[in-house]
Symmetry: C2
Subunit: 338 residues, 2 copies
Amino acid sequence: MGAKARFSNPTELVDAALAGDRLALARILTAVENRTPVAEAALRRLYPMAGKAHLVGITGPPGSGKSTLVSALIAAVRAAGRPIAVVAVDPSSPITGGALLGDRVRMQAHTSDRDVFIRSMAARGHAGGLASTSTAAATVLDAVGFDLVLLETVGTGQAEVEVAAAADTTVVLEAPEMGDEVQAIKAGLLEVADIVVVNKGDRPGAQRTASQLRAMLVAVGRVGVRSTGRARAAPASAERPKPKEPQVLVTTATTGGGVPELLESLDRHRARGREATDSPARLARAEAQVWAILADRLQADLHRAATREATAATMREVAAHRLDPFAAADRLLAELSS
Amino acid sequence: MGAKARFSNPTELVDAALAGDRLALARILTAVENRTPVAEAALRRLYPMAGKAHLVGITGPPGSGKSTLVSALIAAVRAAGRPIAVVAVDPSSPITGGALLGDRVRMQAHTSDRDVFIRSMAARGHAGGLASTSTAAATVLDAVGFDLVLLETVGTGQAEVEVAAAADTTVVLEAPEMGDEVQAIKAGLLEVADIVVVNKGDRPGAQRTASQLRAMLVAVGRVGVRSTGRARAAPASAERPKPKEPQVLVTTATTGGGVPELLESLDRHRARGREATDSPARLARAEAQVWAILADRLQADLHRAATREATAATMREVAAHRLDPFAAADRLLAELSS
């Protein structure tokens, strides 16, 4: 019998994952990605065990060397004897795309190490649910003992920014001298950054780009406006205050240059975040998850209602103009809540 | 005092529109477009008066001469002494784009005629609501006495197909010899077509394109699969059966050639549709409108709940991992329905 037969119910699956079974862990994450009932059962049990890990969002434009940096970070974390998990989110493609797959291959160097867990998650459903799905995945990894979880996103759209911004610490990557078009993207990304990294530090313009970014950050801080889509999925969220001047670091991921300093900076930011009892990032994550669950439930209710004969009869009355659609909606809502 | 002061409440506005006031009509349509409470009040009253007009969807790729044909159709309908309304839907742009605006200018020839009413509607919110918004606009025009309402869409995406398919009669326009890429689009569009029009009939390839299209239609009919997104917003909808072999007509909109034949074909299709007591198109329209209203209401409920202190307290418990997000969703749903 194959692996599928090994776990007869969600309880066994969660027990196995908690005992260190990586296959069970992978299956829970697949359930989370597909939002199945197994995911709900697993998350209900694992959620109270989570909340200890440091969630780090890493985002930045293609070509900034994000995956190489993530790989270098993994090496630095492992050299310190700490476990690490990576959730690589690709909102643009229903199936993991070529670029991401290539990146994963580069990370294969770490796959024989059981204290490194790397998982790609493609976008299912609408982009709004992506932040909650990747957060739920991070919760699972947190609960089974990964102390540091990286949420890596591909691209620089709104969804990517939201996923990265859902983390405790948000790292925005830039490559030196990426031209005017990228400058425009930077402004939005910089507003969510806790740490800005100029990668490819061995290129001529790296230090100059770092200086320009520091100047931009001062300008953003001076304007004082936080108009990003942070926590858009979470209506009640308080605005998440960021330290006025995020640190700008220069790394050369290919050689590992600057990576220990980045890891130190992450740990410092984590320690600072822990002082707050009600971290705004945690609150935003909580809200995104709850609203995603509510949206799923209401949609399921509607679909159940849609299959009933009484609903079909109501629709026929509307089609015949004997009942207006608002009165029909009133009637269906009354039926749903009864 | 400006026009705004003339109507102090929705009842007066609807009374005025029913009495033939075009400004009042335009204001109701703006309310429909923006989904305001005035729209709900107006539609609740107007809906029972509607259901008599013939809704004709017209769609097709850019460059097929759609607006010129619509203009020629208006002329033919007016020559027969009948009133006509046009709702031009542009799902791609939040503000009416240049191309559409240019088209409207071409239609200005009809604007001094009060039995011609032309209205552009831009997409607000998600594309899913577009079909219900344009259908609601058609309902208003129907109720105030327009016996023939054209729903013209720009582009050939899913949203456009859905809008066109929500009509009693769907006309799909093609230009002669539009190349391989357009052929791929055609297949999807052809599945929703009741009447296919090859416009620019004075071009060399027109008759040949018409023959090719007739052959494609036979092929589509032979396969017998209706896999379009028709009525996707309406879960309970029965599949809308189409006559096996839609008519293929050739027009030359610039000269009016073939336009009287198109109008005859529309009237024949209308007469056929009237034989059915429960038209599947009407059922699909009813469902799309009811589900759009339900989705709006549930979203409003959630946003109201999000502003309450009890909700904020629940979110803080989730953020502190003392409550899992599913239990939080259970609690919020219980509060919503109490």
